[in-house]
C-alpha cells in the first residue's frame, strides 16, 4: 500500500476509472493542462489525452448541463467545479435536470455523472471559497451527496460515485486535502454510498459529523476521554440519503446525540439529523439532540473565521454539557 493524502487518493480513483471505463471523461475550469487549482486532476490529461481530460470554458451551468448531455448518451462524465461557491451558477442544471432526468423519462435516460468540488472552510480563502452547500443538494430529491473524511474513504467513495448510475455530488473537504496521510490500496475498491461509519464506538454520547469535522471531533474526544466520557463517533460519509439505521442504533445505546457540522446550522443537514433522531429515538433520549455548526450569518472572511469555525474545545464543551444534562 501507498501512503496518500486525499488529493492523491482522489486522483488515483480517477486514474483507475479512466483506465477501466472508456466512457469516463473529466473536465472543468483548469482541470486539463493545469490539473486543477488544487492539482486533483494532475497528470490525467497527460496520461489519457485531451479528449478525455480537458479544460472547459469558464461557465458552471455549461459544465454541468453539457455533462448531462453526455451522461444520457452513455458516457460517465466526472466534472470539477472549481469551488463550492461556484456551484451556484449551475444550480438550475443540477436541480432542474441532473436530479430529474431519470424520473422525467421514467428510466429511459439515466444520469451517471459526478460533480466534484472542493468543499468547506479553513484555508483562509477569499469570499465564496469556503461554502458549505450540502443542505441545498441534500434537500434536492434525486441527488446523492457524499463528503469523505479520509484519503481511504475518498478513493472508495469516488469509485462508487463514478460507477453509480445516479448523479452524485461529491464534496471534497479542502482543509484536509493534504492534511491527512494514510495507507491506501493502489487497486480498486469501493465504499458503498448511503452507509455511515462508526469511527469509534462509545457509550455515553453519539457524535455525528462528516468531512473535515471528523478530525476536529476526534480532537475533542481526547479531552472527553480525559474526563472519562465515552463518545461514539459516527462519520456520515453520505449526507443524502442519510443512513438512519446506524444513527438509530447508536442513539438507542447512548441516549444522547451531538451533531457537528461546518455549515450554518438552520435548515441544514444538522436540522435533518435532529429531526431523524426524534423520529427514530424519541423514547431513548436522555438529553435534547443538539447541533453545533456555523452561525446563520454570512461566512466571514479569514479575519473572522476563528469565531465562525467550530473548534475541538467547543465540541468538547457541548459534549460535557450534554453528558451532564
Amino acid at each position: 500500500m501507498k501512503v496518500m493524502n486525499m488529493v492523491q487518493a482522489i486522483n488515483d480513483a480517477m486514474d483507475l476509472m479512466l483506465k477501466e471505463h472508456p466512457e469516463v471523461v473529466m473536465y472543468g475550469e483548469d482541470a486539463g493542462v493545469e490539473g486543477g487549482v488544487f492539482r486533483v486532476t494532475e497528470g490525467l490529461q497527460q496520461k489519457y489525452g485531451a479528449e478525455r481530460v480537458f479544460d472547459s470554458p469558464l461557465a458552471e451551468s455549461g459544465i454541468v448541463g453539457t455533462a448531462l448531455g453526455m451522461a444520457i448518451t452513455g458516457m460517465r462524465p466526472v466534472v470539477e467545479l472549481q469551488f463550492d461557491g461556484f456551484t451556484y451558477p449551475a444550480f438550475n442544471q443540477i436541480v432542474s435536470h441532473v436530479s430529474r432526468f431519470r424520473n422525467r423519462t421514467r428510466g429511459k435516460f439515466a444520469v451517471p455523472m459526478v460533480i466534484r468540488f472542493p468543499y468547506g472552510g479553513g484555508i483562509n480563502a477569499l469570499e465564496h471559497h469556503s461554502e458549505r452547500p450540502e443542505a441545498y443538494y441534500a434537500h434536492t430529491p434525486g441527488l446523492k451527496v457524499v463528503i469523505p473524511s479520509t484519503p481511504y474513504d475518498a478513493k472508495g467513495l469516488l469509485i462508487s460515485a463514478i460507477e453509480s448510475n445516479d448523479p452524485v455530488i461529491f464534496m471534497e473537504p479542502k482543509k484536509i486535502y493534504r492534511a491527512i496521510k494514510q495507507e491506501v490500496p493502489e487497486e480498486k475498491y469501493s465504499i458503498p454510498i448511503g452507509k455511515a461509519m462508526v469511527v469509534s464506538p462509545g457509550t455515553d454520547i453519539t457524535v455525528v459529523t462528516y468531512g473535515a469535522m471528523v478530525r476536529e471531533v476526534q480532537r475533542a474526544m481526547v479531552m472527553a476521554k480525559k474526563e472519562g466520557i465515552s463518545v461514539e463517533l459516527i462519520d456520515l460519509r453520505t449526507i443524502s440519503p442519510i443512513d438512519r439505521d446506524t444513527i438509530r442504533e447508536s442513539v438507542a445505546k447512548t441516549g444522547r446525540i451531538l451533531v457537528v457540522t461546518e455549515a450554518q446550522r438552520s435548515f441544514s443537514a444538522a436540522s435533518e439529523l435532529m429531526a431523524i433522531t426524534v423520529e427514530e429515538n424519541f423514547l431513548n433520549l436522555e438529553a435534547p439532540p443538539t447541533r453545533l455548526g456555523g452561525f446563520d450569518t454570512i461566512i466571514p472572511l479569514p479575519v473572522g473565521e476563528n469565531f465562525y469555525r467550530v473548534e475541538p474545545e467547543q465540541i468538547y464543551y457541548n459534549i460535557q454539557k450534554l453528558v451532564k444534562y
Binding site: E51, M75, R102, G194
Partner: protein
C-alpha cells in the same frame, strides 16, 4: 451558403413567396416533388393534432398545451432532414419534429395531460423530452454533440429554443461550448416574435438573433421559417456542414405563433388583429399548398379526405392517452434513483399505512 445569405448583411433565406411561387434568383432544393407532398401531409397531420389538442384542453380533458399553429414548417423540415442517428433536443413547441423522430401522438397527449409516461417516447431513443426551463436544454444538446464526436458516432444534434430563450445565460453557454468543441449541433431558434407577451424587440437590441452566432464563432443563417423549402435547404446544409466536422450552426427561423402561447394565454392582451392577419398570409401550410396546387400535386378534395383521416387518427391516439392516463404509487418512488433507498421505502410504507387507515374509515 453562409456567404450568399450573410445575416450580418440582412440576408434571409427564402425560396418561395407568400403564395408558394419560386422567388427570382432562387432554386428549388433538388429533391423529388413527391417529397413535398409528404411534407405537406406531415404538416397537415401535425396541425390537426395541434388544433385538436387545443380543443381537448378546452373540454377539460388535458392541461396546459402550447399550440404550434403557424410554426409547423420548421420542425417538419428538420424531420425531413433528420437521420436516425441524429438527436432531437426539444424546447416544447416542435410537435411535427417529435413525430418525425418517432414520438407517438398519444405520448405527447399523455405528457400534456400531466403524466410522466408521456416523456418516455418508447420508440424514439434519440428524442429528449420537452424542456420546461427555457434554454437549459441547449446545453444538453452541446453535451450530446460532444458525445457523438468523442465516440466517433455519425449524426448531429438539433437543439431548439425560442426567441425569448436566446436571452437566457444557458443559450450563451451552450453556443459557446459547442463552438469551442466544434460539436455537431444545429441550434434552431424559432423566432415566433413573442415570448408569451413580450415582443422580440424587447428581448434583445440585436438586429437579428442570427447575429448572435458571431459571438461564438458559429456561422448562422436567418431563414424564413414559414417557407418549408428555405428551412429544408438551410437545415440540410447545416447538417452536412456540422456532420463534416466543421462545428455548430445557428439558424434563426422567422415565424409566427398564430395561436396563443399556451391554452391559458390570451394573445389579444398584447398583440393586434392586424399583426395576426399580416402573418396569416404567410401561413406555411398555405404556402406549400399553393406550391403543390400549382404543380398539380394537390387538390382540395384530397386534403379534405386526408384531414378526415387525420382527425380519426388523432381521436384514436387521444383515447389511447386517456386509457393510459393513470399512475400507481410505486411509479412516484421508482425513478428517483436506480434503486429505492431506505428513506423512500419508509415514506412509501408510512403513506400506505395512511391509505389503509383511510380505507378503513369509510
Amino acid at each position: 451558403m453562409f456567404k450568399k445569405y450573410d445575416p450580418l448583411k440582412g440576408k434571409i433565406v427564402r425560396i418561395i413567396d407568400d403564395n408558394g411561387k419560386l422567388l427570382k434568383g432562387e432554386e428549388l432544393p433538388e429533391i423529388d416533388n413527391e417529397i413535398w407532398v409528404k411534407a405537406m401531409e406531415k404538416m397537415l397531420f401535425a396541425r390537426q393534432a395541434d388544433l385538436m389538442a387545443v380543443s381537448f384542453q378546452r373540454q377539460g380533458r388535458m392541461f396546459t398545451y402550447p399550440p404550434n399553429l403557424g410554426q409547423e414548417a420548421i420542425a417538419t423540415a428538420v424531420g425531413m432532414v433528420n437521420k436516425e442517428e441524429d438527436w432531437f433536443v426539444p424546447a416544447f413547441r416542435e410537435l411535427a419534429g417529435w413525430l418525425a423522430k418517432g414520438a407517438q401522438l398519444h405520448e405527447v397527449f399523455l405528457y400534456f395531460k400531466g403524466d410522466e409516461k408521456g416523456s418516455k417516447f418508447v420508440n424514439a431513443p434519440h428524442l429528449l423530452p420537452s424542456s420546461v426551463p427555457i434554454a437549459s436544454q441547449l446545453l444538453h444538446a452541446a453535451g450530446i454533440g460532444y458525445s457523438l464526436k468523442y465516440n466517433k458516432k455519425p449524426g448531429v444534434v438539433y437543439g431548439f429554443v425560442g426567441d425569448g430563450g436566446t436571452s437566457e445565460g444557458d443559450f450563451h453557454e451552450a453556443l459557446n461550448f459547442a463552438g469551442v468543441w466544434k460539436a455537431p449541433v444545429i441550434f434552431i431558434v424559432q423566432n415566433n416574435q413573442f415570448a408569451i407577451s413580450v415582443p422580440r424587440q424587447k428581448q434583445s437590441a440585436a438586429e437579428s438573433l442570427a447575429a448572435k452566432g458571431i459571438g461564438y464563432g458559429i456561422p448562422a443563417l436567418h431563414v424564413d421559417g414559414n417557407d418549408i423549402m428555405a428551412m429544408y435547404k438551410a437545415v440540410k446544409f447545416a447538417r452536412e456542414y456540422a456532420e463534416a466536422g466543421n462545428g455548430p450552426v445557428l439558424i434563426e427561423a422567422e415565424t409566427f405563433r398564430m395561436g396563443a402561447h399556451t391554452t391559458s394565454d390570451d394573445p389579444t392582451r398584447y398583440r393586434t388583429a392586424e399583426m395576426e392577419e399580416e402573418w396569416s398570409k404567410k401561413d406555411p401550410v398555405k404556402r406549400l399548398r399553393q406550391y403543390l396546387v400549382s404543380q398539380k400535386l394537390w387538390d382540395e378534395a384530397h386534403e379534405e379526405k386526408l384531414v378526415e383521416e387525420y382527425k380519426e387518427k388523432v381521436e384514436f391516439e387521444f383515447k389511447k392517452a386517456e386509457e393510459l392516463y393513470k399512475i400507481e404509487l410505486n411509479e412516484i418512488f421508482d425513478y428517483t434513483f436506480e434503486e429505492l433507498p431506505p428513506h423512500l421505502l419508509k415514506q412509501k410504507v408510512e403513506y400506505e399505512n395512511y391509505l389503509h387507515w383511510k380505507e378503513g374509515r369509510k
